[in-house]
């Protein structure tokens, strides 16, 4: 009744190709953005920001990056954790070596370095496909993490081997380091994620995104119609690594505060892959939904026993949590293999006809 395109006439191609062609969608997104930028920082508790909102946004960014590679370009990769580590360690090196550079620029530079590394590890994708490629990308995961662990130069030769976010200011407000408040960090992360989500959305709508999808659907056919598979795949790898690197940098500097290579283990790669599969392959919205799901479910599972007044030993609870997490993933894949984004689409279709579906 309320959600339909009737009466919304478009008089230009620009209006027709808008990201949200329906005015209801535009209002809804505007509403969400206002809530995210104004209401949440003013009302949410420190715990909510630190434990839910900030990781949710950071993982959304990482899953957008991986989704560009896996969902759009069709190159299965398990190296996300490694590329996130590149971003984090490079930010650390750059900002300790040149403290006067604006931290946002440092993030971007670190992302670019991570893109170069991604380019390097993307080279085998020309010859190797499918699961062979997935396992091959594990090489980058293990090699990069090992390198950051072994080469002391990357963590400035400190004895603990951890990288710690030094305090850095943006417009006179401290945004990183131990003194930064959760609210400021949240706003900075949110702004970065919004900008890069918009860029990603426009990338996949344009020429590059279409050539990615052509390569994904059948790379030989794509080659025949004039798309260069090697360049297309390499660009996908580097842009994806840029996003992952940026997410890794944000993770250490705006969320955790300090980290070791442990934080970028193979599990991280799997979690991000879960996010895009649960959220929906080949969907930017799906990246957000998947990240929300994967970040929130463990928190809910951890807190659920207390809600029901159950008490059990901590290690038992941990095991049950892992088990339920696995169960939920299998369950979701069976119920909707195309992810939460697909459910959202179905809901919208239903809503258009509601309440008279004839």
């Amino acid at each position: 009744m309320f959600y339909r395109e009737t009466g919304q006439f478009k008089s230009s191609y620009k209006a027709d190709q808008a990201i949200f062609p329906l005015s209801q969608d535009r209002w809804f997104i505007l509403f969400l953005i206002i809530i995210a930028f104004l209401v949440i920082p003013l009302t949410a508790s420190e715990y909510l920001l630190q434990a839910v909102m900030i990781p949710l946004l950071i993982f959304s960014l990482a899953s957008i990056g991986l989704n560009l590679l896996v969902g759009y370009a069709g190159q299965l990769s398990l190296g996300t954790g490694g590329f996130m580590a590149v971003g984090a360690y490079m930010t650390y090196k750059l900002t300790t070596a040149f403290p006067e550079i604006n931290i946002i620029i440092v993030f971007i530079l670190a992302g670019l370095i991570s893109a170069c590394v991604g380019l390097l590890f993307g080279i085998p994708s020309l010859r190797i496909k499918g699961f062979y490629l997935a396992v091959a990308t594990l090489a980058s995961q293990f090699f990069l993490v090992w390198m950051f662990n072994k080469v002391a130069w990357f963590y400035n030769y400190n004895s603990s081997g951890t990288i710690t976010a030094p305090p850095r200011e943006l417009f006179g407000i401290t945004v990183t380091g131990p003194t930064a408040t959760a609210e400021t960090r949240y706003i900075v992360v949110l702004a970065i994620v919004c900008v890069f989500a918009l860029i990603a959305k426009n990338l996949v709508r344009g020429r590059l995104g279409r050539s990615w999808m052509a390569v994904r659907d059948m790379d030989i056919a794509a080659e025949i119609i004039g798309i260069r598979p090697f360049q297309t795949k390499l660009i996908a790898f580097s842009i994806s690594s840029f996003y992952c690197g940026l997410a890794g940098a944000l993770m250490v500097f705006l969320w955790l505060g300090s980290a070791e290579t442990e934080a970028f283990s193979i599990n991280e790669s799997f979690y991000v892959l879960f996010m895009i599969i649960i959220g929906g392959l080949g969907s930017i919205l799906g990246s957000f939904l998947g990240a929300t799901f994967i970040v929130c479910v463990p928190i809910l599972l951890t807190n659920a026993p207390q809600l029901f007044g159950l008490s059990m030993p901590i290690d038992l609870q941990k095991h049950i949590e892992i088990m339920l997490f696995g169960f939920l993933i299998v369950f979701f894949l069976i119920v909707e293999p195309h992810g939460l984004a697909r459910l959202w689409q179905i809901a919208k279709e239903k809503l258009r006809l509601w309440p008279f579906p004839y």
Binding site: P124, Y132, A139, W146, F325, G326, L328
Partner: protein, 316 residues
């Protein structure tokens, strides 16, 4: 500066080989220990290959199945089961697991994309791991099968009885599987399914039963691998991580080839040991974690389908 470069080149390209030639006995010990580790990798990789051949599923949960099988066996033995009863009960549990997986997971995921199935098996990994540890706890459990583990010398070579036992049982297992696949009715059906699902169904092979059987066999292979690894280093969570070690073996040998899994395992085992001992110290050690992957990657660049994998033919 020039001296440094020469020195470096010497360290990388000359010194390790000189060392290999000048201490041949130590070198052969390294190779033998690499081969024996390789057998263990092959055992894990074998489980992956069986399932991939028969159902096209890249079953990441194989590592968790190894852990689960070993945990169940040890747990039952701790509850006073004699070893043969514990073995039989564990096999029954694994068959039940295969049944549950087929009935409640695979059946609903037929015809889905490969990556969805792959993800589902990662979910299954968490599920099995959590389930096993919920029931049996997460402490390190020693597994004592009464296999002697004394070392002895043959012609100057130091060998370990346990390692030889492991290699021997690995060989027996492979031989049994080969006979099973080639000379039994079920084995033929399995090979038919591996060749072509639709053709197999058309001649009346019940696909669902075949899947249960192949998951059970993979579970059994996992049990053998779990016993070997468990007896060596105790039954604990890290057992499920050897799945990550089996992956380079898989891509090296080819996903669809049983001999590939074995040869791949041996190559990775030996390569890893040699690299760790002769080149590891140059870069600070602990290169075992990624060396296998890089080795496999180098092979893949020349043969994208692995050493023995089926040739990938692409048509538009």
């Amino acid at each position: 500066m020039d001296m440094e470069i020469i020195n470096f080149l010497n360290l990388v390209f000359l010194a390790p080989f000189v060392e290999m030639v000048s201490y041949p006995i130590f070198f052969s010990e390294v190779i033998i220990s690499g081969l024996l580790t390789g057998v263990m990798y092959s055992l894990v990789a074998l489980g992956f290959v069986l399932i991939f051949k028969a159902s096209g599923v890249f079953n990441f949960a194989q590592g968790a199945m190894v852990l689960f099988a070993a945990l169940t066996l040890v747990g039952l033995m701790e509850h006073g089961f004699p070893i043969w009863a514990a073995l039989i009960s564990t096999i029954i549990v694994l068959i039940a697991l295969a049944f549950v997986v087929e009935r409640f997971m695979l059946r609903y995921l037929i015809n889905q994309e490969d990556i969805i199935l792959f993800m589902a098996t990662i979910g299954l990994t968490f599920l099995i791991q959590g389930f096993g540890e919920t029931i049996w706890g997460s402490n390190v459990k020693p597994l004592d099968l009464g296999i002697p583990s004394e070392s002895f010398e043959v012609g100057g070579l130091l060998l370990n009885e346990f390692d030889l036992f492991a290699a021997g049982s690995g060989a027996i297992l492979v031989a049994v599987l080969a006979v099973f696949f080639h000379y039994t009715r079920i084995g033929r059906a399995l090979r038919a399914v591996a060749d072509d699902h639709q053709a197999a169904m058309a001649v009346g092979i019940p696909l669902k039963n075949i899947w249960i059987i192949v998951w059970s066999v993979a579970g059994f292979v996992g049990l053998v691998a779990g016993i070997m690894w468990g007896a060596k280093s105790g039954v604990q969570f890290s057992l499920s991580l050897i799945a990550l070690k089996a992956l380079p073996v898989l891509i090296l040998g080819g996903f669809t080839s049983v001999p590939g899994a074995i040869v791949g395992g041996l190559i990775i085992g030996v390569g890893e040991k040699i690299a760790e001992i002769y080149w590891g110290p140059l870069v600070g050690g602990a290169i075992e974690n990624w060396f296998a992957y890089v080795l496999a990657l180098a092979f893949l660049l020349f043969r994208p389908q692995g050493l023995f994998g089926e040739r990938i033919i692409e048509r538009v």
